[in-house]
């Protein structure tokens, strides 16, 4: 069923009886050509592109709970392509371009809103690093602008320009960055994948991988055995648990990242803003809530919840940047399990087991990557060659000394 304004009007006048399910809830088939483990944004996007762009059939997405219940349903909704390194920037810029056409592609309004992202800097060293990064962005075909304090003050007059411990000295803006209605991304891809014949199997937890003679044969699930030609893991924070079923150890740790939303407020923040002297980034949703976050708690966790020191740290930074937030109230906090990799960059690759593929290590940057991750993973699954923007995301890059370390902090996941 095609969605449109006209359709909304027609349904409104006829009691909304015509709306069908956004996706089906089919029974699992005995086998599929492609089994994608994980019904999050990346898994659903992979299924969608595999079916739509690569014309593949017999595809299933297996989700242990409800689709979109992982990090795509619990992030701070930011999209951007302001990366530095050659291994990353083309990929994220490709993703941003896919975001720009997403609604028309999916016929689903995920509210991609390019309201701009601004990263503030507070020291000369930070400025030099931002200049290098901004140049890398432009040289890769993305947009970037260096703003001085007056330009920032004009747009964000309520930041602390007077009394700050670490005065704002400027910022790097990407005007094409912005936010997206995160849940709608999962639903839009699910609906699109479903309409191209993909079976989305909810409450279907993978409990085992059947591997024979070095090749994958299928998956054991809470809904029975499902045979598979190719199995693609795409489970973010649960990556180590799923790959352990194939005795594969990963360069990944699972960590908790908390995020926060305030009560609904009349519009204050036009775009996304990132503090450079503490852990705080913030935007305002179309409903009026300030959506913000900071650093991960820092210890391994699968608990989907964090602790008070990090909450305080984030709010301290928020108050340091925007002293007028004092009387805004934090409404809700939540935690997601992040697949923190050893260099802060993701992996989209085959494994040594024939037919078993891996996508993970997104750290806390997975949301913005959703379309490109889906497209590149689908490309790999369909062609067995990496997509041109994802050639660096190999599992063996640490062995080869080819780390993609944007932050330069080395093999310590909680610092990325």
């Amino acid at each position: 069923m095609k969605y449109s304004g006209l359709r909304v009007i027609k349904e409104a006048l006829t009691g909304h009886r015509g709306w069908g399910p956004a996706w089906r809830d089919p029974e699992p088939q005995k086998s599929y050509d492609y089994v994608i483990i994980g019904g999050g944004g990346h898994g659903l996007a992979t299924a969608y592109y595999l079916a739509k762009h690569f014309g593949k059939k017999r595809i299933a997405v297996l989700e242990k709970g409800w689709i979109g219940g992982g990090n795509v349903g619990r992030n701070t909704t930011i999209i951007r392509s302001n990366y530095l390194l050659d291994g990353n920037e083309p990929f994220y810029e490709y993703s941003l371009k896919l975001w720009e056409g997403l609604e028309q592609e999916l016929n689903y309004n995920a509210m991609v809103s390019q309201r701009g992202i601004l990263n503030l800097y507070h020291s000369d060293g930070q400025r030099d690093a931002f200049v290098r990064r901004g140049n890398a962005m432009i040289l890769n075909g993305a947009d970037a602008e260096l703003l001085d304090v007056d330009q920032i003050r004009a747009r964000y007059p309520f930041l602390d320009f007077e009394n700050a411990r670490f005065p704002i000295k400027g910022g790097l803006a990407q005007h094409r960055g912005g936010t997206v209605r995160h849940d709608a991304v999962a639903w839009g891809y699910a609906r699109g994948a479903d309409s191209h014949g993909v079976d989305i199997l909810q409450n279907c937890e993978v409990t085992g991988l059947r591997i024979e003679a070095g090749a994958i044969r299928g998956v054991e699930t809470s809904r029975g055995y499902i045979g598979a030609g190719k199995v693609a893991s795409c489970v973010a924070g649960s990556s180590s648990r799923v790959m352990a079923l194939a005795d594969i150890r990963l360069p990944i740790e699972s960590h908790v990242l908390q995020a926060f939303v305030s009560e609904g407020l009349k519009p204050v923040l036009p775009g996304v803003i990132t503090f450079g002297a503490g852990h705080f980034y913030c935007s305002q949703s179309d409903k009026g809530g300030l959506v913000f976050g900071g650093d991960i708690d820092g210890y391994n966790s699968y608990a989907q919840r964090g602790n008070l020191p990090t909450v305080e740290d984030v709010c301290e930074s928020g108050m340091a940047l925007i002293p007028a937030l004092g009387r805004a109230r934090l409404l809700r906090m939540w935690g997601g399990v992040m697949d923190m990799s050893m260099d802060g960059s993701p992996i989209i690759d085959r494994t040594h087991i024939d037919g078993l593929y891996f996508n993970g290590g997104w750290c806390y940057g997975g949301f913005k990557a959703t379309p490109a991750s889906g497209m590149c993973y689908a490309h790999l699954l369909a062609t067995d060659t990496p997509h041109e923007t994802a050639t660096a995301y190999r599992l063996d890059r640490f062995r080869r000394g080819r780390m993609i370390d944007e932050k330069g902090v080395g093999a310590q996941p909680n610092l990325h």
Binding site: W66, G134, M319
Partner: protein
């Protein structure tokens, strides 16, 4: 205006009047009132507008679960959006304004949305606004954003301060109703350290809202007596106006105390609120229960509120929403409202009970088996329409309707560690599950023990059990007598008949129809339902609405309620001001300031300071007549290279390394060798991470066979120390080596320039020979200065000049800088700051933070050969990986612009002179750049592919971000004195 709906009795102080305004209109209330109760007493029912359709709304509850009666409280910089009128304590001069309406609360133009509600159903926006693509940001979204939010921020800096505090106790009791008080008495009398916290300003919970007797006194009086007794116990801390916002790991709870919100402004020196971190051995949740509504057509009109709230307003606050009311219920408790209001002289038109066999409890008309099918009254309820048991319709005139759909135990805090509540069919509600947070128990209504007797008993019993666990002998007191009515309820969630919309989430305007649509479109899991319809996402987080939505989804799906699932609650229990969570860490106090030993002196010189981590360092020292920083910096550089300068380098990390294995230890942590370093000598050390990337660099001096002093960069002082302790304790636990950070123990100054020795000779005591022969480049040793002050002298140079670093105990730092300046007068000694320091190190090609960016190898620094292959050092093995040793690896080189006045941009990228300017053809980048007053040219250093082999090559330096594209020549990074003659002079 008179308080026309004020009733007799209540717990308000009628001897005092409090004047306040709502939307500019003046009203009067009394101490003990909330804003909501005072407005109600004054006959105000309409208090707000809903989020989406701007429906007129009145108060629904009497507590913090309120979805409707939200106001902007106070004005100016203290304006506080979305404040619940139901919990805002009245004070004299209180100002409140309604929200989300234009131009006024009674006439809101945006209410036109309500006319189009059929088009604006759940999730409609996902289906439209897609064409043309550009219109989303330009047209559709701006319109939607204009309508966003409820209240507004002032955008002025919050003038109030906030504090943080830490408390410890044996037992934290959350909620001071009958269960909490009973538990507190038991634990308090037993001598345990108890904290009793309640969000209300009056402790007692429902005892203040009901008319039950305990023993022979009124419940409220019993509560007051209990509080008085607890107040007298040294081991009990009573915390009214304190909300326990969250339960965190290992018995740590967050609590917010509203110290001054009941005052016009905080008293001098007092904060507005305090965030407490409460460390508990055990916690007992006595948070009571929250009533839930029944959905029916047009159930959202001002005047329709929860039956228990209506009773609370009448009993505690002596206020009624109308002089004639009715009650709609599915359980016995609703009848109490009729009974209590009648006792206060309010006319009760009828009790409408969906149960055909409803008991007669109040002395008024009982309509058993009847349902409310519609209501009317534009800005406030005037009539309700019923379907009676016999099928007939009936219209009842009333100004208010109390609704009770039963009570939900307030399990919020049991879920904060992702525990799931369990369904209890006896009370048709979720009760705490078995997976409670470590150390937490639940008592009273929160545990499903609804009667007063049950609450008192479970509070006492749970407290006794906890005391037993903690090894404290519980006090055995007699349990007071109280009512023990059973829960009689027939689950009933919504009236199916009726043409109007039946509201579930009144703030977010979610209706029964929206839930049906979600079901129809397969958004059936509880989480999909919430996210698709926005049910329970408003400021009240669905405390009164989630259950209804869940029950209706269960009906549609043909499942039981627990079969559909439950949503769990997350912290905070109620929204918390950002200011409270931020505390004092804002503005200039965001981080502590570390001042160097010469700070006071530098300030006297008029130095400009710069942040270096938490340090403040002198950036340059302007002299009269200098109008641009470059003038000062150029002068400082020339002065150092021409004569002598002094710079405070105390901020560099200093680590004392001692022990018989100290040299062996340094050999492990540095890639280059340290075992053979002679006593009295200093060596440059390159420290790698285990992955082979450079972690830090610095010099280490050997003061004795078993005693070294390591220096680190300012930025890495802490991580390097941590790393060294890791190596010492975790990797080589039997090495005889001890570490201590002495960064703050020694004040250290660089004395640099051709006259550095002459200057130092004036202060170093005569017994110490520091001639070039006796104390050559890289020498180090203990000396005394100024007649006996112990000091350390290092002949090391960052500037490339003849230079020393001299260290004295920190308390002499100020005296030393003054002495150096005085002694150096004859050489025109010049203090220099971090900018001049930076210029000189770029001129010398020394790596610093910009070069050691965490991706740099020794090879990149052209120090590959320093990584010894003959020994095991951290990082040496993995530095051999192929990807770190490619033939075209980046190498540190220098760049000169073709025209000396052309600025070299740090962060600019290098491209071949011919060929495209894009990322694929990137050759490297400039890390640091400056103007060299020695070369009279801008210069830069940076990383270039195969850089070592490209000396003399001309490249383009492009920085599209700053609009630059210039030609540069590749040169050695050692611009000044490449042979090092000056530093050995």
């Amino acid at each position: 205006m008179s308080q026309k709906n004020r009733l007799p009795g209540g717990q308000i102080d009628r001897s005092q009047n409090l004047d306040f305004t709502f939307d500019g209109k003046r009203f009067t209330g009394h101490p003990g009132d909330t804003l909501a109760s005072a407005l109600m007493a004054n006959g105000v029912r309409l208090m707000g507008r809903s989020f989406k359709y701007h429906r007129p709304r009145g108060v629904l509850t009497s507590g913090s679960e309120e979805p409707n009666a939200l106001v902007e409280l106070r004005s100016g910089a203290r304006q506080e959006p979305n404040t619940r009128a139901t919990t805002a304590e009245l004070f004299d001069g209180l100002e409140a304004r309604s929200q989300n309406r234009w131009p006024s609360l009674t006439f809101d133009a945006m209410a036109v949305n309500d006319r189009f509600s059929n088009f604006l159903t759940a999730g409609f926006y996902y289906k439209t606004f897609m064409w043309p693509a550009a219109f989303w940001e330009k047209l559709y979204e701006p319109i939607i954003r204009k309508a966003a939010g409820l209240g507004s921020l002032s955008l002025e800096e919050d003038p109030d301060s906030y504090d943080k505090g830490y408390l410890h106790c044996d037992l934290l009791i959350v909620g001071a109703g009958p269960a909490g008080l009973s538990a507190a008495l038991t634990a308090g009398r037993s001598g345990a350290r108890v904290i009793l916290a309640d969000e209300d300003f009056a402790m007692g919970g429902r005892l203040n809202a009901e008319t039950f007797a305990i023993d022979d006194t009124a419940g409220a009086e019993w509560a007051a007596a209990a509080v008085a007794e607890l107040h007298g116990m040294n081991n009990v801390r009573l915390m009214p106006r304190t909300t326990v916002i969250g339960g965190f790991d290992h018995g740590i709870y967050g609590a917010v105390e509203r110290v001054s919100d009941h005052l016009p402004t905080p008293a001098p020196g007092k904060s507005r609120q305090i965030l407490w971190r409460v460390y508990t051995r055990r916690a007992l949740l006595c948070a009571g229960a929250i009533e839930r509504p029944i959905a029916f057509a047009n159930n959202d009109r001002p005047g329709i509120l929860l039956a228990g709230a209506m009773r609370a307003y009448a009993n505690r606050w002596a206020a009624t929403p109308a002089q004639k009311v009715a009650v709609f219920t599915n359980n016995d408790d609703g009848h109490r409202t009729a009974r209590d209001l009648m006792a206060k002289g309010v006319r009760v038109a009828a009790v409408i009970d969906v149960r055909p066999d409803a008991p007669r409890i109040a002395d008024c008309e009982l309509l058993a088996g009847a349902q409310v099918i519609d209501t009317s009254g534009r800005l406030g309820l005037s009539f309700v329409k019923l379907r009676q048991a016999d099928g007939s319709e009936r219209i009842i005139e009333c100004g208010a309707l109390g609704v009770s759909g039963g009570w939900n135990p307030n399990v919020h805090l049991t879920c904060h560690q992702r525990g799931r509540p369990a369904w209890n069919p006896a009370i048709s509600a979720f009760v705490p599950g078995t997976d409670l947070p470590q150390g937490q128990s639940v008592a009273g209504a929160a545990a499903g023990a609804f009667s007063t007797h049950a609450a008192l008993r479970s509070g006492a019993e749970q407290a006794a059990a906890i005391l037993g666990d903690l090894g404290i002998k519980p006090d055995k007191a007699r349990l007071p007598r109280a009512e023990d009515a059973p829960v009689n309820i027939q689950p009933f969630w919504h009236v199916t008949e009726g043409r109007g919309r039946a509201w579930l989430d009144q703030q977010n305007d979610v209706t029964v129809k929206d839930v049906k649509l979600a079901h129809q479109e397969n958004f059936r899991s509880v989480e999909h339902l919430k996210r698709y319809t926005t049910l329970g996402m408003a400021t009240d987080q669905g405390k009164t609405s989630n259950m209804g939505g869940l029950a209706i989804m269960a009906e549609l799906a043909g499942k039981s309620i627990p079969g559909v699932g439950t949503t769990i609650f997350r912290p905070p229990y109620t929204p918390v001001a950002m200011g409270t969570l931020g505390g004092r860490a804002r503005g200039a106090h965001f981080h502590p300031v570390r001042e160097t030993p010469s700070h006071i002196w530098a300030r006297e010189q008029g130095a400009v300071f710069v942040e270096a981590g938490n340090w403040l360092r002198a950036q340059w020292f302007p002299r009269p007549g200098e109008t641009h920083w470059r003038q000062s910096v150029d002068r400082e550089v020339r002065a150092v290279r021409g004569s002598v300068g002094v710079c405070d380098v105390t901020t560099l990390g200093k680590i004392d390394v001692q022990g018989t294995d100290a040299a062996a230890f340094l050999n492990k942590v540095y890639a280059n060798g340290f075992a053979k370093l002679a006593v009295g000598k200093t060596r440059y050390g390159l420290m790698l991470r285990e992955d082979g990337i450079v972690m830090d660099d610095g010099t280490t001096a050997r003061l004795a066979e078993d005693h070294f002093v390591m220096t680190t960069t300012t930025a890495n002082a802490v991580p390097v120390y941590r790393h060294l302790e890791f190596v010492r304790q975790c990797l080589f636990p039997d090495m005889d080596v001890q570490l201590i950070s002495t960064t703050e123990a020694w004040a250290q100054y660089a004395v640099a320039g051709p006259n550095a020795r002459k200057l130092l000779q004036k202060i170093v005591d005569p017994g110490f020979d520091i001639s070039n022969e006796a104390f050559p480049f890289m020498a180090c040793g203990a000396v005394t200065i100024c007649g006996g002050l112990r000091a350390r002298l290092f002949r090391i140079s960052f500037s490339g000049e003849l230079a020393y670093e001299i260290a004295v105990p920190t308390r002499y730092g100020d005296a030393l800088i003054r002495r150096l300046m005085a002694a150096g007068e004859e050489f025109d000694v010049t203090p220099y700051g971090t900018e001049a320091l930076g210029v000189m190190r770029i001129e010398k090609g020394h790596a610093a933070g910009n070069e050691l960016n965490g991706t740099t190898t020794a090879l990149n620094l052209r120090m590959g050969r320093m990584v010894s292959k003959k020994k095991d050092a951290i990082g040496s093995t993995l530095s051999e990986r192929a990807g770190l040793n490619t033939p075209d690896a980046l190498a540190l080189v220098g760049f000169l612009p073709k025209l000396p006045e052309e600025k070299v941009t740090a962060g600019g990228h290098l491209m071949n002179r011919e060929g495209p300017l894009d990322a694929k053809h990137d050759q490297g980048y400039v890390t640091s750049a400056c103007y060299s007053p020695i070369l009279n040219s801008h210069i830069g250093i940076g990383y270039l592919k195969s850089g070592s082999e490209r000396m003399g090559e001309r490249l383009r330096l492009v920085s599209p971000l700053t609009g630059q594209n210039i030609e540069v020549e590749v040169v050695s990074a050692h611009f000044v004195d490449p042979e090092g003659d000056r530093l050995r002079a």
